[in-house]
Amino acid sequence: MTNIDCIGQVCPIPVIRAKKALEGMGEAGGVVSIIVDNDIARQNLQKMATGLGHQSEYVQKEKGIIEVTIVAGEGCAVDSCATGEDSGLVVAIGRNTMGEGSQELGQILIKGFIYALKELVPPPTHILFFNSGSYLTSSNSNSLEDLRALEAAGTVILTCGTCTNYYEITEKLGVGEIANMYGIVTAMAGAKRLINI
């Protein structure tokens, strides 16, 4: 495996270095691991990997550091080649209430649930919001402060873009980033443990 440290480097440098390393491996392929310090570089690396037909995944580390693993070549799936790093707990929230029953109670519960997530050590690596769950990351959500604290602690917060467009709240996103279904599936697939609300 080739390791590339791109801390402090801005695009296109991480992409160029990763691409050169991949090209250097020739037909046989192999694994390149790139450490970056911003999510945009991670997105550009995965865009390049997908464009070149390679598999890729990433792990969120401490202090905003992200490790992207790109696998080139035949018969070498990410799962078997990657370092086997614990990608931790992923929480998927597809609604803006918790449990069946009173909606008012459900809203109180989901707020309490997100507050409690904040107390977990280590915090979840990802929290994914979709369908009416998307309301919880919009600017008038009463969970915004808790989610921002989680984000500051290193949790990646992703909200489904199709959902925010559907509910017309894309402009109101108050925390985290917009993701597409590929991003959501990748985070779920990479989870060691997944909580579904």
Binding site: P12, K19, Q43, N44, T164
Partner: protein
């Protein structure tokens, strides 16, 4: 000598705060209600316009950034051309300018002199006067201008008032950000870099002068947000814009570089921002990147009635040979931007 670029994490308009982040912050600002303020920041337009009397308004704008090229004189010219552009894109004429300078204490002052000389050249070329400025120490060099111009309040070219049936013209080639990214990666060829620098240094004055003989429905200049974000802004709620992706002018090498993934952070931010507003579908990846590419001192993007668009294009091509008709304006469709 320490090079200009070695001190910079990102240069040019690619360093702009992303449109999404910016609107989050601005949404909390109070709205000022002065009837003389014809164009304020709530309109997200290129410059502010303040009416003085029935046929005079002043247009005011400020722009600065860190270097995207190593040559100090070129950087000065580019930063000044970029700052002046906002006056031209509103339909105004620059009157005077003030220098804005941030400069590292540890760098040689000769380079700063070159930067300012480059800026002064462009202010002269614009027919405006330099009348002062402000300089501070900073760990990254930065340069730009605050520019004041005049315009007729009845002939403001707003950025979001195209009319259905109009055609869209783009005056300069895309690909500046990609070529500069390739330069950073030491993979750009000299010809491409020269084309990019020459385009960034060129004032939008000449294209704007041609436009003054025609009815212009809307106009803006392409910045770090990229063509698609400006097209979306122009479409507003009242129209949708169709872009002819095969007609877009670009620096030829930029297409190859984009295909080689010499891509920028700003273009990816722009891509995230455009999600849900345009269906990129099976548009070739390199063309997608060009449409999202951050431009520094980019061209004018304008909307004019179809009946005169061809004649207007011919006039603009006398000064901007790569200008093209790149789209048309429709009544609102499913999405604000459609690609054809």
């Amino acid at each position: 000598m320490m090079s200009l670029l070695s001190n910079c994490t990102s240069g040019g308009c690619g360093a702009k705060i992303g449109p999404g982040e910016l609107s989050k912050v601005l949404s909390g600002m109070p709205v000022f209600g002065d009837p003389n303020l014809l164009v304020g920041f709530d309109a997200s337009d290129d410059a502010a316009v303040y009416q003085i009397d029935s046929d005079t308004a002043i247009v005011s704008t400020v722009d600065f950034f860190s270097p995207m090229v190593n040559d100090a004189r070129s950087f000065g010219r580019i930063a000044a051309a970029n700052a002046l552009s906002d006056v031209y894109s509103m339909g105004g004429t620059p009157l005077f300018a003030l220098n804005l300078v941030c400069y590292p204490e540890s760098m040689e002052l000769d380079a700063l002199g070159e930067i300012l000389a480059g800026g002064a050249e462009k202010i002269q070329e614009a027919g405006a006067v330099l009348c002062g400025g402000h300089s501070i120490y900073d760990k990254e060099p930065k340069y730009g201008l605050a520019v004041t111009g005049r315009l007729n309040p009845n002939r403001i070219w707003r950025n979001n008032t195209p009319a259905p049936g109009d055609q869209l013209i783009l005056t300069k080639p895309l690909g500046i950000g990609i070529v500069m990214a390739a330069l950073r990666g030491e993979m750009a060829d000299e010809q491409a870099v020269q084309a990019a620098i020459s385009s960034m240094q060129r004032l939008n004055k000449y294209a704007a002068e041609k436009m003054h003989s025609f009815p212009i429905s809307a106009c803006t200049d392409i910045t770090g947000f990229g063509l698609l974000a400006h097209a979306r802004e122009m479409a507003g709620e009242a129209t949708s814009l169709v872009l002819y992706s095969s007609e877009l002018p670009y620096i030829p090498q930029a297409y190859t570089y984009a295909g080689d993934y010499l891509i920028t952070a700003a273009a990816q931010r722009n891509r995230n921002h455009m999600q849900g507003f345009v269906e990129l579908g099976d548009t070739p990846f390199a063309l997608q990147e060009l449409m999202l590419d951050p431009q520094t001192s980019g061209g004018l993007f304008l909307s004019a009635p179809k009946s005169c668009a061809q004649e207007l294009l011919s006039a603009i091509q006398e000064v901007e040979p790569q200008a093209r008709i790149v789209g048309e304006v429709l009544l609102p469709q499913k999405l604000p931007i459609l690609l054809r």
